[in-house]
Amino acid sequence: MPFGEQLKLVFEYKELLFASLGYSMIIAFTAVIIGFVIGVICAGVKIAPKGNIIVKIFDKIVDLYITVIRGTPMLVQLFLMYSIVLVSFKYSDNNLIVPIISFGINSGAYMAEIIRSGIGSVDNGQMEAGRSLGLGWFTTMWKVVIPQAIKVVVPTIFNEIIILVKETSVVSLIALQVDGEQVYDLFGIVEKIQMLEPACYNATLVVIAVIYLVIIILLTVIQKLIERRFKKNER
């Protein structure tokens, strides 16, 4: 079948495509939020003054978490979650939570490192100046150090978000259920459409690629807008 006709046929499934786009985005962006929250907490533990034993214990836990998550493939983590940790969801009617949690936990490790290094990039003199005026550690962090770290961290955070959005395509390897019905993510839908229209495989792939590309371009535009906003603070 000529490519043009394949495309036409693919567009007949636009409702299915949009639905799968929706699932991919729900998984990706909920995971981003979870990852960001985990990242902030872990980075907070890593930079907190190591005064007492509780902070030290948490510090070790965070180290272990980051090592394990960064040291194993995302796909392996997803399957471990699906088959062992969150196995009770495996045959439930709603299991979208499995990839959401898996990707969130995965992203959290990377976010933690990004945020920690961003805060570390701010000259220690800024903290010392705040403390020398009698401001507390937290106040100085909040009013002086973090605003400067955000500027450094934004491009890398977006890099992580972009990678995560694309990496969610591996969920096509597990069977997603919403209200007892099987649903598909953006990459999983390729197989589904191929089953319905075996001749349109190539066109489906191209369409999916373009959809991913558009999402990433949109994210990049948002990134630039945020970066410009922080640049204005300079002079």
């Binding site: 003199g125 705040g130 403390r131 020398s132 009698g134 009013k143 002086v144 605003p147 400067q148």
Partner: protein, 249 residues
């Protein structure tokens, strides 16, 4: 200039020690600093003079001795060091203005955040101080647009916003281009004239000679010699000090 210093003690340091692991940087420093006194601290690099200064407001945690400030031993872990730091101003070699804030917000942050002044009071005070150093038109500028000399003068008035009892200067002119050293030293001289109590770690022997009431030579983690500048530079007794002065003068 000795006549203006009173007998009232601002800082009393007894047997101050600081060690990094086994390496002893400060091996027992004793010094009394009186109200209105300007004490210049000199010494070879690595002698511990900056560490000594940074111990005074506990930016470095001393490992021994005591520092009495406002009747309290501030080395004691139980004291609220933040409270005492409000009254111990510090000026850094690298200025350390808050880069994310305008000049005005740099000046307002601590007094307003700590509820020492209302925003209006603090603003009025900040404008008055900015006017004094001739930089009132820079109120809304960000630090990155200022020259080194301007940054350091603003760092000084940022410390003044807190109305400190004593000001610590950690090599305040060492990071400046030569043509900007003068404007910073002039401001420091003015403060000295107004009876501000100052402890100044410096390489500016001219400043030590002219402005200080007392010059202190730290070497190898202890005070080797201290006296009025005339005696200090005219008739040094310690061998290491003689050697040091012959190199820097």
């Amino acid at each position: 200039m000795n006549d203006k210093t009173s007998q009232e003690l601002v800082l009393q340091v007894n047997g101050l020690k600081k060690a990094w692991g086994k390496h002893e940087v400060l091996r027992g420093i004793d010094i009394d600093i009186h109200k209105g006194e300007v004490v210049a601290i000199i010494g070879p690099s690595g002698c511990g003079k900056s560490t000594f200064l940074r111990c005074l407001n506990r930016l470095e945690e001393p490992t021994g001795g005591e520092i009495i400030f406002n009747g309290e031993n501030i080395i004691n872990k139980k004291v609220n060091i933040n409270k005492h730091r409000q009254k111990i101003g510090m000026v850094f070699q690298q200025f350390n203005l808050f880069n994310n804030l305008t000049v005005m917000k740099n000046l307002l942050l601590a007094p307003v955040q700590l509820k020492l002044k209302t925003k209006e009071e603090a603003k009025a005070k900040a404008l008055e101080l900015l006017k004094r150093i001739g930089l009132e038109e820079k109120a809304d500028a960000y630090p990155s647009t200022l020259s080194g000399g301007q940054k350091q003068r603003i760092a000084i008035i940022r410390a003044l916003m807190m109305e400190p009892d004593v000001m610590l200067f950690d090599e305040p002119t060492s990071a400046l281009d030569p043509e900007m050293v003068g404007e910073v030293l002039d401001l420091m001289k003015d403060l000295a004239k107004e009876n501000m109590t100052m402890v100044v770690v410096t390489h500016e022997m001219g400043f030590a000679k002219e402005v200080a009431n007392r010059v202190v030579f730290i070497d190898d983690g202890v005070i080797k010699e201290q006296s009025a500048p005339k005696e200090f530079f005219g008739n040094p007794k310690d061998e290491r000090l003689k050697e040091f002065l012959s190199k820097v003068l």
